[in-house]
Symmetry: C2
Subunit: 136 residues, 2 copies
Amino acid sequence: MKISFDVSRVRPGAVAGVYPAKCATRTVLDHVTSKWGVLVLLALQQDSLRWGELRRSIEGISEKMLASTLRTLESDGFVNREAQATIPPRVDYELTARGHQLADRLVPLMDWIADNADEITGAPAFPLAKAGESSF
Amino acid sequence: MKISFDVSRVRPGAVAGVYPAKCATRTVLDHVTSKWGVLVLLALQQDSLRWGELRRSIEGISEKMLASTLRTLESDGFVNREAQATIPPRVDYELTARGHQLADRLVPLMDWIADNADEITGAPAFPLAKAGESSF
DNA sequence: CAGTATCCTTTCAGATACTG
DNA sequence: CAGTATCTGAAAGGATACTG
């Protein structure tokens, strides 16, 4: 695929948000914002978790996607995998220092989204009457 | 699809990171972390941009995906579309107050990623010798 | 328990052509 | 200029079965 990209035609003020299509920043951003990346990182933010705990913590994730997401986050150095050769095996996953730095930036984002999601989607879980309004 | 999800089997400390599969939080998260969502939001963070400017600001985005991403962000109330019925038409896109709140949480994340991406991907653009090291 | 391997469906996303 | 419509190939992702 040929990408034509003439920076001179981009408005100067907007250049701060410009990243080349194949730069490291976009690659890492794609890993983090992959379908399950944020959820896995946040699940590990408080404690290390075993494979099964992690899987149960993230409703809807398949084994395949959990494995794949963990391998990516591991290879980026966000997650550390610790396997014990016991029977049955026990494998713990934890954030690395780098993973914690990243998660620290994800928490405010996720908190804000969680706080505002109902209003954004227009489907409040508990449609409360506003102050001054009456339900009669 | 049947989803079985037994919260009692999730470790107590991990519950903070648990979101039901089909909750508003996940929906909004998916919109924001869609392939182009973050890049569009950040491109608009400093200034409003016209359609063409926006398209040129985000290297690699197709018209289809720009349109689709903008419609989603618009319907979530993050982006405002202002069309002028001139010939040729001029359409500006800008963040709403809600969009700015969100972007304010995305900036630290993106800055951190941009600052660390080269090290994370292991392909530094400028492999500098560390202090104390010599290239001889 | 902690995964892999495989198959298969669905969705994503690019290219192209067209419109007001 | 600012889009929409349609087609198609690529990729993501789920279900299932299997393994150390």
